[in-house]
């Protein structure tokens, strides 16, 4: 069985995928269109050339990298489908489904130890390094040398990172108080979890976006804050002779489809949400195993990941997906505790899940597996900006106080990144508006 659309395409566009024509809804992510067309294997892993498909559908994994219009390693999960796009599998000898280099996977059933492999003879080691470099890696250079894209700079009172409900509320509240606000969001459409939650709330997402834009917030979609840097004054001599000093506010680098902007914000709001992470069981990396958010996101685009979906994990989100799949006409098995899941079965696509059942083991038929591992805050940018991050036994969390305050005086964190999920939308709003009020006061 394969994934299928449960809603007809409204505005069809044609993609050329490895020479085949694939229909897509205009503007939906290319990976969603490929999934709906039953194309789950999109690329191959770097070392063993194991078949790979998208897991996260959210710019966090390696599963959707393809060559698009002559440019390698495009994350097709965030690329809106458009007519005539040329999408190609990269890094294979053959096709994505039959890659001759997959022999590497069989040659090394137990993995390879690159510390010791072929190290007993220098000449052989050199030869094998060359071989390894040909087999490994992702993508090759673009067809044409890309011209440098222009960059720009801007100063704002407040930079909000993440356009979910918390980020939108914080941005709107700061803008209403007269602060200049730039909101950066990675997805094609802002709204964050409101757009993919098992019971999505796109109406609320649209209303919050309108509210923020109406208040004067500048919105940058499909863009990431890829780093934040302290500007240092230029000094001659060694650090001991003339210690460098931080001059002015930090510079956040925003990267989007049209290039890079260097932003100097007086205050930064981290509303980056959560990493769903991964589960490790036998062949959990095979196409057809997706995270819970991906299964939900596909549903929001009118695509069923499978007819009989095994659920792994626990809690309200898993129960919500179970209900949403049932309402869409699919069957589910489980949910199973993550620790009990032993193997994703199937040779060319998922056909079962092997699960511990007391002292025995059982195989349940299924054609897709949706997992919800313990989640973590999206902490990377926050950590660099000075927010404390710590392991809580299952994932990494930000240390956040009243009104989103953090160890960094110019940074506050709000929303799902701090554990506030949208089941309590009023609480998310209250936290975001408290953070905004504090920022408005600090920047008076």
């Amino acid at each position: 069985m394969a994934p299928r659309r449960i809603r007809p395409i409204e505005t069809a566009v044609h993609l050329n995928v490895d020479g085949d024509e694939v229909l897509a809804e205009r503007g939906e992510p290319v990976t969603v269109a490929l999934t709906a067309a039953g194309r789950l294997t999109l690329c191959r892993s770097v070392k063993y050339h194991r078949p790979r498909g998208a897991v996260c559908f959210g710019g966090r994994c390696d599963g959707c990298l393809m060559r698009v219009d002559g440019v390698a390693s495009v994350m097709t999960c965030r690329l809106p489908a458009d007519d005539g796009m040329r999408v190609e599998t990269q890094n294979v000898v053959g096709t994505a489904k039959r890659d001759l280099l997959a022999a590497t996977d069989w040659f090394f059933p137990d993995g390879m130890n690159h510390h010791e492999m072929f190290t007993w003879n220098e000449a052989i080691n050199k030869v094998m390094q060359k071989v390894a470099r040909r087999i490994a890696g992702i993508g090759t250079l673009p067809d044409d040398v890309l011209a440098p894209t222009p960059s720009d700079e801007r100063e704002v009172d407040v930079l909000v990172v993440g356009g979910g409900p918390a980020g939108l509320h914080a941005a709107a509240a700061c803008a209403r108080a007269g602060r200049s606000v730039l909101l950066v969001d990675e997805e094609p459409k802002v709204g964050g979890s409101l757009r993919w939650w098992p019971e999505p709330m796109p109406g609320i997402a649209d209303a919050l976006a309108q509210d923020a834009l109406g208040a004067g917030v500048t919105l940058r979609s499909r863009s990431s804050v890829v780093g934040v840097y302290d500007p240092w004054e230029d000094v001659e001599g060694t650090e001991a002779e003339a210690p460098a000093r931080r001059v002015g506010p930090p510079v956040a680098v925003v990267s989007g489809p049209d290039g890079v902007t260097r932003v100097r914000p007086r205050r930064t709001v981290i509303a980056t949400g959560r990493h769903l992470g991964a589960s490790a069981f036998e062949d959990s990396d095979q196409p057809g195993v997706v995270d819970l958010r991906a299964a939900c996101l596909l549903l929001s685009h009118g695509v069923l990941i499978g007819e009989r979906v095994a659920l792994v994990g626990e809690g309200a989100l898993v129960d919500g997906l179970e209900a949403a799949l049932a309402a869409a006409g699919a069957k589910t098995v489980g949910p199973f505790a993550e620790a009990d899941v032993l193997e994703a079965r199937g040779r060319t696509s998922v056909d079962g899940v092997r699960v511990r059942d007391g002292d025995a083991e059982r195989v349940h038929d299924c054609d897709a597996i949706a997992v919800l591992p313990p989640t973590s805050a999206v902490y990377e940018l926050a950590a660099q900006a000075g927010v404390e991050v710590a392991f809580d036994g299952s994932g990494y969390e930000l240390s956040v106080g009243e009104a989103g305050a953090t160890a960094a005086p110019d940074v506050r964190a709000v929303g799902w990144a701090t554990g506030a999920a949208i089941e309590t939308l009023d609480a998310v709003r209250a936290q975001a508006e408290a953070a905004a009020a504090a920022i408005v006061e600090e920047t008076a």
Binding site: K47, D62, E282, P374, A390, F391
Partner: protein
């Protein structure tokens, strides 16, 4: 596809390699990263850091209070975008 338990998809690191690293005494998250290469691929650990931290604790490794140090850029950036950021003096 041969049966494997992968703990880091991007760099194809197996559970066996993680356990081998532990056996050789690499019992903290940073050392495990340096020995196995987990978390150093396309996703830079977004998928695997918490998972490897949990697996490490379950196997008696040191509690990984901090994640591996996040390195910028936190999302892949085309070189064409960075080329324009070089200072005029440096270009000359």
């Amino acid at each position: 596809m041969s049966n494997k338990v992968l703990v880091c998809r991007c760099e194809d690191v197996t559970l066996g390699e993680l356990e081998e690293a532990l056996e050789k005494g690499h019992d903290d998250l940073e050392s495990v990263k340096r020995y196995t290469g987990f978390g150093t691929g396309w996703c830079q650990g977004k998928q695997c850091v918490a998972l490897v931290a949990r697996l490490l604790v379950e196997r008696g490794g040191k509690t990984p209070t901090l994640p591996i140090t996040p390195r910028q850029p936190f999302h892949p950036v085309p070189l064409a975008h960075l080329a324009e950021l070089v200072d005029e003096e440096e270009k000359a």
